[in-house]
């Protein structure tokens, strides 16, 4: 049994809740090596998405993901807005007009999301960005999807890998985004975007059934 448009919408609502809860944590992380707005930016975007989801819901998972994409692009701002926006947009495109998502499609969507982030932001693993969380997440998702895992299984694997990926940013010296201005002083801090990526994936995994 796959994931319908309503399931995706429910998952996004849960994500909005998680972002709101972690708003201050993300602000704090961003204050340490950035400009202290990451939690605020994401929260503004997902709050806007919440009200959009209260309207007429599109009928396919892809269309819901696209709604998320355009909402995030037009409300988040900062680096994270276009990056997450592109991620959702590419994910939406990759699943086409499938009525339901299975494990394989979810893995495909995550892969497309990563490609979108990299296309826009040009970061590679080790630059201390959300790419450090998303890249291992995609690898893990694809690996378990190829063994036939369901949506929950794929997302759980992705979330776990993203968490480790996020943690791996702590010792890194940032090479992309605002944190890179700090040079060596950026080491010793968790990257806020990597943290939010792992939070998003964990929330998706928790919401999947």
């Amino acid at each position: 049994m796959g994931c319908t448009a309503a399931d995706v919408a429910r998952a996004l609502r849960a994500v909005a809740g998680v972002v709101a809860e972690h708003r201050e944590e993300l602000v704090r992380l961003d204050r340490e090596i950035g400009d202290g707005d990451h939690g605020e930016n994401l929260n503004r975007g997902f709050a806007a998405l919440l009200s959009k989801l209260d309207g007429d819901l599109p009928s396919t998972p892809g269309a819901v993901l696209k709604l998320a994409a355009t909402t995030l692009i037009s409300t988040v701002g900062g680096a994270a807005g276009p990056l997450y926006g592109t991620a959702f947009l590419r994910a939406a495109t990759s699943v086409g007009d499938a009525a339901e998502l299975d494990g394989t499609l979810v893995a495909t969507a995550l892969q497309a999301a990563l490609e979108g982030v990299v296309a826009r932001g040009k970061a590679v693993v080790g630059d201390k960005t959300m790419v450090d969380a998303l890249t291992p997440a995609v690898a893990a998702a694809e690996s378990v999807a190829s063994t036939g895992a369901d949506v929950a299984g794929v997302l759980t694997a992705a979330a776990e890998a993203a968490e480790q990926g996020a943690e791996s940013t702590v010792p890194l010296v940032a090479r992309k985004g605002r944190a890179s201005y700090l040079g060596e002083r950026s080491a010793g801090h968790l990257d806020p975007g990597a943290r939010s990526t792992s939070l998003l994936l964990r929330s998706f995994a928790g919401g999947a059934r």
Binding site: V27, R31, G78, G81, S180, G183
Partner: protein, 337 residues
């Protein structure tokens, strides 16, 4: 909602819109403000057959950019939330509102968020048939421009760039000409800043960094980010030299050069200190045989209430001087009209 920081605001979530309302009331003759998406447009836009000069970025840097909208400078400014780049739909709205048929030049400060959002907007506007060009200003010598950073930030040079290119557009220079001029300015302007105290983003509720009583941050950006180095505060002679030396060595500027010197306050710096610093910078430039042809002293690109300053030096020639001197009528810069 509880006010969590000591600021003259009602609610961190509405601070930009609330300030825009005050700005609209204060400058009704000059500006037209729209709120969703937020754009500050010059009152007589679109000006037919004139290149539209558009900029934008996070709020909290006032008067940049909204204070520079008006005749001879910007056609529109897109204010994002505090320290957060605006979204593509703001930029797109600005293009639509100001398009006089001669295309639009987007002036973008080099920050990942600004670059990505303006990039998206430019794609959208191009899709609607407007000839849109983008220039990215990256004048901050504090950041090493290398594979290992997001590149130099756009700081004080932005003000000078907007004035000069705005004057050219007002005279009828076409889009190619405005773009080329912008690249010329970007090529010969350099800046560096320091902070004596941090600033507090309204929604964050806490200062962006903490400094001891005798410490300052050298090489700061304009978003409350810490600088590259934390050093002991010294006398003004030392502080000014610590900013000016790297700026001059970078281009480099040399004896015989003619320059515009811009001494900028970060928002919480008293004018008496700015003038004092400016006097020192003038002396140091004279000692190096560099001629200060024009100057600007004031808090024009700020970081909320941060105390500190930046120095910007632009190499000028007769063309740039003439464009600098050309009439401008905005909320923050006005002469000749």
């Amino acid at each position: 909602m509880e006010v969590t920081v000591k600021k003259i605001i009602n609610d961190p979530a509405t601070v930009v819109a609330d300030a825009l309302r005050g700005m609209a009331a204060a400058h009704a003759d000059l500006l037209d403000v729209q709120y969703d998406p937020a754009v500050v447009v010059r009152a007589d836009a679109p000006v037919q057959r004139k290149v539209a000069i558009i900029s934008g970025g996070g709020s909290g840097h006032e008067p940049l950019h909204g204070g520079f909208v008006g005749r001879g400078m910007l056609d529109a400014a897109c204010p994002g939330p505090v320290f957060t780049s605006p979204t593509p739909d703001q930029v797109q709205a600005a293009v639509t509102r100001t398009d006089g048929g001669a295309g639009a030049l987007l002036i973008v400060k080099n920050y990942t968020g600004d670059v990505l959002n303006f990039e998206t907007a430019a794609e959208l506007a191009a899709a609607e048939g407007v000839d849109v060009r983008t220039v990215v200003i990256d004048d901050d010598v504090a950041v090493k421009d290398s594979l290992y950073t997001a590149g130099r930030r756009g700081v004080g040079g932005t003000v000078l760039l907007e004035k000069v290119v705005g004057a050219a557009a007002e005279r009828g220079v076409d889009l190619d000409g405005c773009e080329a001029l912008a690249r010329k300015v970007i090529g010969q302007v350099r800046s560096m800043g320091l902070a004596l105290s941090p600033c507090t983003v309204p929604h964050a509720g806490e200062p962006s960094f903490v400094l001891a009583d005798d410490e300052m941050e050298l090489g700061i950006g304009i978003h409350g980010e810490p600088g590259r180095r934390r050093v002991r505060v010294g006398p003004a002679d030392e502080l000014v030299a610590a900013l000016l030396d790297p700026v001059l060595e970078d281009l480099p500027f040399a004896a015989g050069d003619r320059v515009l010197l811009f001494t900028n306050g970060m928002g919480g710096t008293p004018q008496i200190e700015l003038y004092l610093a400016h006097g020192i910078a003038e002396r140091l430039l004279a000692e190096r045989g560099i001629t200060v042809e024009r100057r600007l002293v004031g808090s024009y690109i700020t970081s909320l209430e941060m105390q500190g300053m930046s120095l910007t030096v632009l190499k000028v020639d007769d063309e740039l001087i003439e464009l600098w001197d050309a009439p401008v009528h905005t909320a923050a810069l006005r002469w000749g009209v």
